[in-house]
């Protein structure tokens, strides 16, 4: 694994939610650099701002202060159209429980992601090959309701990677899994992060899975804190 300059750079990002007396600071002067091929875990309790961090890094919302740079482009000043394009072309999301589309089979989940991104799979990363990489080729024709929680997450990871993103954002991937499945999924994430050279940020409240991560950060009340180095 080689690490170059940061693929994802958050500098002094502040995000406020709500108005007036109900306003809360979800992200408070957050600075974070993630390099290609690095898996960064962000730990924290519910309401600490972990999902807000993903929302800002994924171009789902713009910060009130600070900058979010991906490939030299500042998302903080991008238009909605530019943000959607950024999400299509640069970001892969892995959601809680996979969040797969009920009507699509596993292989169609990947084909649909390619279609949205307006891309064709290269020969080495076809939907079929990616499903094989995550151990799901035998279940390629199954729909989400026919898959277990771990299988759904594997398909979700393959779906996020099929468009060859530079940034992978992972939201509580083990929330609905038992301990053994959780470790498998995070190990898979780490493996694919290194293989694909993608900058991965995974938010989780599950301390059991951080062993596979390159860096672990802690978020408390919107601030990124203590850093643990694992690699």
């Amino acid at each position: 694994m080689t690490r170059g300059s940061a693929a994802l750079e958050l500098a002094h990002v502040t995000l406020r939610l709500g108005d007036g007396d109900a306003q809360v600071t979800a992200l408070d002067d957050v600075t974070l650099d993630v390099t290609p091929g690095e898996l960064v875990a962000v730990l924290g309790p519910s309401g600490s701002g972990k999902s807000s961090l993903l929302a800002v890094a994924g171009g789902l919302t713009r910060p009130d202060e600070g900058s979010v740079r991906v490939g030299g482009v500042d998302l903080a000043t991008a238009s909605r159209r530019e943000l959607a394009r950024y999400r299509r072309e640069q970001v892969g999301f892995v959601f809680q429980s996979g969040n797969l589309i009920p009507a699509l089979t596993a292989v169609d989940q990947l084909r649909f992601a390619l279609r949205i991104a307006g891309r064709r799979a290269d020969a080495a990363h076809t939907p079929e090959l990616l499903l094989e990489r995550v151990g799901m080729s035998a279940r390629a024709g199954h729909r989400p309701h026919q898959l277990s929680g771990g299988e759904r997450q594997r398909v979700g990871i393959a779906r996020a990677l099929v468009t060859r993103p530079s940034v992978l954002l992972v939201d509580e991937p083990t929330a609905a899994l038992d301990r053994a499945r959780s470790r498998e999924i995070v190990a898979l994430l780490a493996q694919e992060t290194h293989e694909f050279g993608v900058a991965t940020v995974m938010v989780t409240h599950d301390h059991d899975v951080i062993g596979a991560c390159d860096r672990v950060l802690e978020m408390v009340d919107g601030k990124l804190g203590q850093v643990h180095a694992h690699s």
Partner: protein, 382 residues
């Protein structure tokens, strides 16, 4: 339509249910269209088949009673004949009568007739498919509608009119339906019509003016020319209605057609609302899934197009099923006593309207997609 096509298969129960509703509406629209066309045919097919551009009625006549109350003179016919652009002008008589037709074999058929009095040698005289044309030398000879012939009245039968006892003889039959006010048309020489209209039976005296009277002046414009109703009406002291406008003078025509049009219109609105409501619920049920797709970079435009294409597939298939069922059922009804006739143009128009308005309903519902916040894919913070 990558997603839409797969959703159609995945949620086939939902879409079949909605398709069934659309198909039933399409079936109802086809039946109403057939009923509407049938009623129009029953009401005014006799007028529609006249080679007439317009009718000039007495100046004081109202539209809804024009054929029953108007009386024009031959002088007015002559005035109209002198107008520029008029190829033909002839007196036209219209009267509703009752009677019975008796055949040589002793069979008697009660008949209600719309007597169209026309000069036998004029452009108004019909061309029978069987038998002879009207002949002024045979004042009792009549040419009857094909639908009356279908009821068992034949050439050579004698039709005796109630009350006045006038005897008419069927000399010819027409190929098609010629009806007026839901009554079969019988063409009769104008002189005979004048006697019947005046209530004069055999041997009864007829006032002199009646011999130069008719209901209206039937006008035929020259090829490529247009009538000038204002100038003609000024000259002749008449009130001119185009052939289509004169349909309103057929008994019950306006009330029947407007009622059916209103019901048909409501069905279109109901269809659009049903489709709109279905896709609204469908969109609401999928809002988290749509948020995920938008978070993945899917644009609202892409999702709206996918949804509308999905609706188009359902609408076209369901409408086709409904129309085919309507045509099948209509074929059975067309042979019954119900005034029912299916024509390609109104059915095609109704089907197209149903699909178009359904698509509008679906598009209105799909607008919700644009309002879905992709942030909610993460659980929705802002």
């Amino acid at each position: 339509m990558f997603l839409g096509a797969r959703e159609l298969l995945f949620a086939r129960g939902h879409f079949s249910l909605m398709g069934a509703v659309v198909a039933l509406i399409a079936l109802l629209v086809v039946l109403l269209s057939g009923l509407s066309t049938g009623l129009v045919n029953d009401g005014v097919s006799g007028l529609q088949r006249l080679p007439v551009t317009a009718f000039a009625f007495d100046d004081d006549t109202k539209t809804d009673s024009a054929f029953s109350r108007s009386v024009v003179s031959f002088d007015q016919v002559a005035d109209w004949a002198d107008q520029p652009g008029v190829a033909e002008a002839a007196p036209f008589g219209n009267a509703l009568v009752n009677g019975s037709a008796t055949g040589g074999d002793g069979r008697t058929v009660p008949v209600d007739l719309a007597l169209f009095g026309v000069p036998a040698g004029s452009f108004l005289a019909p061309e029978p498919v069987e038998g002879n044309r009207l002949d002024d030398g045979d004042p009792a000879g009549i040419v009857i509608s094909g639908t009356l012939a279908d009821q068992g009245v034949r050439i050579g039968d004698t039709v005796v009119l109630d009350r006045i006892g006038t005897e008419l003889t069927v000399v010819g039959t027409l190929a098609e339906q010629h009806t007026y006010g839901h009554v079969d048309v019988a063409y009769v020489p104008l002189a005979t019509w004048q006697e019947v209209h005046a209530g004069a039976g055999p041997g009864d005296p007829l006032r002199e003016e009646a011999r130069s009277e008719a209901t209206a002046v039937a006008l035929l414009a020259e090829d490529g020319a247009q009538l000038d109703p204002a100038a003609g009406d000024d000259a002749a002291g008449t009130r001119t209605l185009t052939l289509e406008e004169s349909f309103g003078a057929s008994p019950g025509y306006t009330a029947e057609t407007s009622t059916l049009n209103l019901i048909e219109g409501f069905l279109y609105v109901i269809s659009a609302l049903v489709i709109g409501a279905f896709f609204t619920v469908w969109t609401i049920n999928r809002r988290h899934e749509l948020a995920v797709i938008r978070a993945m970079g899917g644009t609202a435009g892409y999702l709206v197009r996918d949804t509308v294409a999905q609706a188009a597939v359902v609408l076209v298939l369901a409408t086709a099923v409904g129309v085919l069922a309507g045509l099948g059922l209509g074929a059975l009804l067309a042979g019954s006593s119900m005034p029912f006739a299916l024509e390609a143009a109104p059915v095609a128009t109704a089907a197209a309207l149903l699909v178009l308005l359904g698509l509008l309903g679906a598009a209105a519902a799909a607008v919700r997609i644009a309002r879905i916040d992709p942030l909610t894919a993460l659980g929705g913070q802002r």
